[in-house]
Symmetry: C2
Subunit: 120 residues, 2 copies
DNA sequence: CTCTCTGGACTACATGTGTAGTCGATACAC
DNA sequence: GTGTATCGACTACACATGTAGTCCAGAGAG
């Protein structure tokens, strides 16, 4: 399942609040994305076509629900990215993030906890 | 600087061995990529056009050298990816990698060392 | 010297992507 | 009941991308 950057923004809204209509998605994106409602509708249609969303009729409108799960999509995206750019090694990725101030103290704490669990 | 997946494969070869000619790059990719030499040349030309590579004449051929550094490119790619997919949080990324067996014991050890340094 | 092979330059072409516009039907305002 | 705003369906279009093909000039084979 290939989801483009713009489509991912739409998916994020629906992962957060499944069952929105096109207009609601447009509104939800309003802050960050300066898209017309047409653009949002196109993206929704493409996602339905790709099988990433399903629709449910609600009178004259459709409500949109994710068909693919947030977690599994992100896991696979992470995997692909690490494979493509870092030959599958996670450590260099994290090292690079650290270099560019990409890691907050919270992140570091969280990662430590995570590693602790993984070692078990 | 936007580098596509196919272009990244070419860059990787030249990061590894700067100063190859088109044919050499083609050969170097031979194992993994079933591209014709035309395809490789197109990718090289696009990368030059984008300013990611520079050429040096060597008789009738060109030798290709990276203009952008591997480390800085990867750091920025990592940053963008984490921002786009994980809202900038590194920890969930690592968690997902862990879920999909994306972390070897080596990775975990390396990450621990890294975190140790970061805490200083 | 002439023929052939190889290199780069230019061209091609389907598909994906970002970003929308048009159109016909319909639900709601009045 | 008639106009208008809105919905989904279909269409548009430029640029990126993956994957290559054509063409001409020069280098090397003989």
């Amino acid at each position: 399942m290939k989801i483009s950057a713009a489509e991912l923004d739409v998916m994020s809204v629906l992962w957060d609040k499944p069952g929105l209509a096109a207009t609601d998605v447009h509104d939800a994106l309003g802050d960050e994305k300066d898209w017309t409602s047409r653009t949002v509708k196109t993206l929704l249609a493409r996602l339905v076509e790709k099988g990433a969303l399903r629709t449910e009729e609600d009178g004259r409108r459709y409500l949109y629900y994710p068909l693919i799960e947030e977690g599994s999509y992100k896991a696979s995206a992470a995997r692909q990215f690490v494979d493509r750019v870092f030959s599958g090694r996670a450590a260099p990725l994290v090292a690079h993030l650290a270099d560019t101030n990409g890691l907050t103290a919270d992140d570091i704490a969280e990662l430590e906890k995570l590693l602790g669990e993984l070692k078990k």
